[in-house]
């Protein structure tokens, strides 16, 4: 029932398939336009929005620039408040921690709060392999999980599904996972939400263990923060006895007071609301209230690789709001699946290569999945200059091929151009051949280039030839 992004084709191939899906494109245009409109409305209400963005970026930068000290401080404050802190270098280590906790408590199921990081590490698959069912409880994640599907948006993972498709998924699949959908279920969103409520309530009431991520982790107080809408997060964070939170090390916020600008920026950028319905914060264990055994897994999984990149480091400021997806002309047309990762859109196009490193054809295709229009940078609440990082990563991708035994056609073209342009006589000779060259190119071999671009028509006369003929006098332009 669970799927992963492993083995996805490079972006251009995946994008071509997505573009052919008219239903997908219709759903995406509707959804992204709706969120864009809502966001614009509530952002316009805040007079000092630009100052707020600067403050949000500064808070995350401060956390990242002193990350070693912050992490040690976070560990100390969490431990002092009764939480057990684990460290995981990679996905496998993090998954092992969660599976071990589940096994020690003898549970065969866990309830999950929507979390990007547990998708990144493939936790559901790891739990499944250990015989433990992981129930996604966010409505969209439930739709994706029941449909045996992949998420396609950070905030609205089932953005590619319309109401009729969702009704069909619920009617076909809910029964195998627990309480079945009502036989007469309609495709009214309220009825679909009610079916999800009934289906998940029995799971919330009996679950003994929950797994969450965290939007923020405050170093000086050991406070984790989960921002949500439906109340499924509160259910998971409150009712079970055992809670494991998997937290990327870049989620650190230095102090409690510095959480403020981020809590003002996130909901307006993300769902286009002044504030999301529910925000939960907790610091370790509270006797008599909520889970009495609390674990926090601090995860690297490539974050230190991104941190070491002077230009790319800013991507770790990301607070996963997804505003950049909704304004991106590329995302709006191809959707999330084409990016082949849980992190799609402009942020995914930089985050994946930064976390995984360049060198793999799928990852290397992502920095090119952009027109560099800059809309993502303008929308980003923590001012990540995504176009700057895209260009930087493109150069890394190109650098990775400098030593190739068989150079790419682009590299050959660039080398020939450099050779030609570096000497006047060579250029003069080449100019005389421009017309012939373009004609040959048009006939043979340039089809891949011209499928999406025009080859310019050759001028009748080169500049040098014109100069020789007229000595630069415009009245003799000949024409």
């Amino acid at each position: 029932m669970t799927h992963t992004f492993v083995g996805m084709p490079p972006f251009p191939t995946a994008a071509r398939e997505a573009l052919a899906d008219t239903q997908l494109r219709h759903n995406l245009v509707h959804a992204t336009a709706t969120i864009r409109g809502k966001r614009a409305g509530v952002v316009a209400e805040v007079e000092n929005w630009e100052e707020l963005r600067l403050a949000g970026a500064a808070v995350k930068d401060r956390a990242l620039r002193g990350l070693d000290e912050r992490l040690v401080q976070l560990e100390e404050s969490l431990t002092a408040r009764g939480a057990v802190v684990h460290w995981a270098r990679d996905a496998a280590e993090a998954n092992r921690v969660v599976v071990d906790v589940a096994r020690r408590h003898g549970v065969d199921e866990v309830v999950k709060v929507k979390s990007m990081v547990t998708q990144e590490i493939g936790l559901n698959e790891a739990l499944q392999a250990a015989g433990i069912a992981a129930w996604e409880t966010d409505l969209a994640e439930l739709i994706v999980q029941l449909g045996g599907d992949l998420p396609s948006h950070i905030l609205v993972p089932a953005i590619h599904r319309n109401r009729a498709e969702i009704r069909d998924i619920f009617r076909r699949r809910m029964a195998e996972a627990g309480r079945p959908a009502p036989a007469d279920l309609s495709d009214d969103p309220a009825a679909l939400a009610a079916a999800a409520r009934a289906h998940l309530r029995e799971k919330f009431l009996r679950a003994r263990m929950a797994v969450s991520g965290a939007n923020f982790a405050v170093a000086d107080t050991g406070t984790l923060v989960v921002v949500e809408s439906e109340g499924n997060g509160r259910m998971c964070l409150t009712l079970p006895d055992v809670l494991v939170s998997v937290v990327g090390i870049e989620k650190v916020v230095p102090t409690w007071a510095e959480l403020d600008p981020l809590l003002r920026l996130l909901p307006r950028s993300s769902t286009g609301e002044r504030m999301n319905p529910y925000t939960s914060t907790w610091s370790g264990v509270t006797p008599g209230d909520g889970p009495q055994e609390v674990h926090v897994v601090l995860l690297d999984n490539g974050r230190t690789r991104a941190l070491a990149d002077d230009v790319g480091r800013q991507a770790l400021r990301c607070i996963r709001c997804s505003a950049c997806l909704n304004v991106c002309p590329v995302y709006e047309r191809v959707g999330g699946h084409a990016y082949g990762s849980v992190y799609p859109g402009p942020i995914g196009a930089i985050l994946n290569p930064l976390l995984k490193g360049t060198g793999d054809p799928q990852t290397d295709s992502l920095p090119y999945a952009s027109s560099l229009c800059g809309a993502c940078f303008e929308a980003c609440p923590v001012r990540i200059d995504i176009p700057e990082v895209l260009v930087h990563l493109r150069s890394k991708v190109v650098d990775g091929h400098r030593e190739d035994r068989v150079p790419k056609p682009e590299a050959i073209a660039m080398r020939s151009a450099a050779w030609t342009l570096s000497r006047g006589p060579r250029l003069g000779f080449a100019e005389r051949l421009t017309g012939t060259g373009l004609g040959v190119a048009r006939r043979f071999g340039a089809a891949r280039w011209t499928s999406a671009r025009d080859l310019p028509a050759a001028p009748r006369e080169s500049f040098r030839a014109w100069w020789r003929r007229t000595d630069g006098r415009l009245d003799d332009s000949g024409g």
Binding site: H30, D61, G66, L67, E230, N232, P277, T279, S283, L307
Partner: protein, 217 residues
């Protein structure tokens, strides 16, 4: 507490190489980067002229019910917010004037989730309310109860005293104690996961009823 301590010791031991390696990687990634010592000062929030009016307007925007009452009328309003025959739970520290309005209510003494699921409504106070965002914040003190109490029942009646209303998010962050568990509530639970159509009422209380008590004098 012994088992937890043992678990902690065992696991810290197990993940110590990971801890040291991650911190080592962070340090080498940041070689030559100067940390910023001073906390970031964020710009001030919005400050409406009439905080209580702004709060009520913003709560109503979330399709929650909001009413203003004079102190003497609170009990009546609380009773009116509860459907007749509703099974009601209250936290152990609910003030006497409110307790009187819900005479038949169950007082929470650690009810199980299943027991709470049989209850229709909960009546609580709050720690602070935010005018600009229409948010109430619970810090789960005795007049608000454990987190589960305000989560499982389908109707939450919350009494906000006018002096508890602050202007914007930074004002709330300044008065809240992060060592306590906090629940920030902005309207009833909601989802926009299906075609971006907003639906109120998923897993949290489907009805949020806020009673703002105006102070006299």
């Amino acid at each position: 507490m012994t088992p937890v301590v043992e678990v902690r010791r065992a696991q810290r031991g197990a993940s110590k190489p990971a801890r040291d390696e991650i911190l080592g990687r962070v340090r080498s990634a940041l070689a030559g980067v100067e940390p910023d010592r001073e906390p970031v000062a964020a710009p001030p929030g919005v400050r409406a002229a009439d905080l209580v009016a702004r709060f009520a307007e913003r709560v109503a925007d979330y399709r929650a019910t909001v009413v203003h009452r004079a102190p003497g009328d609170v009990a009546v309003s609380v009773a009116a917010a509860l459907p007749s025959g509703a099974r009601v739970v209250v936290p152990p520290g609910l003030p006497d004037d409110l307790r009187a309005a819900v005479a038949g209510a169950v007082v929470d003494d650690g009810l199980s989730a299943a027991e709470l699921d049989e209850i229709d409504a909960v009546v609580t106070c709050c720690r602070v309310a935010i005018a600009e965002t229409g948010t109430i914040v619970l810090d789960h003190a005795p007049d608000q109860g454990r987190r589960a109490v305000t989560l499982v029942p389908d109707r939450h009646v919350c009494v906000v005293r006018a002096h508890q209303v602050v202007a914007d998010v930074p004002d709330a962050v300044a008065v809240l104690d992060p060592e306590r568990p906090l629940t920030w509530i902005s309207g009833p639970s909601a989802t926009s996961d299906i075609e971006l159509d907003r639906v109120e009422g998923v897993h949290g209380p489907r009805v949020l009823h806020v009673i703002v008590v105006e102070e006299t004098g």
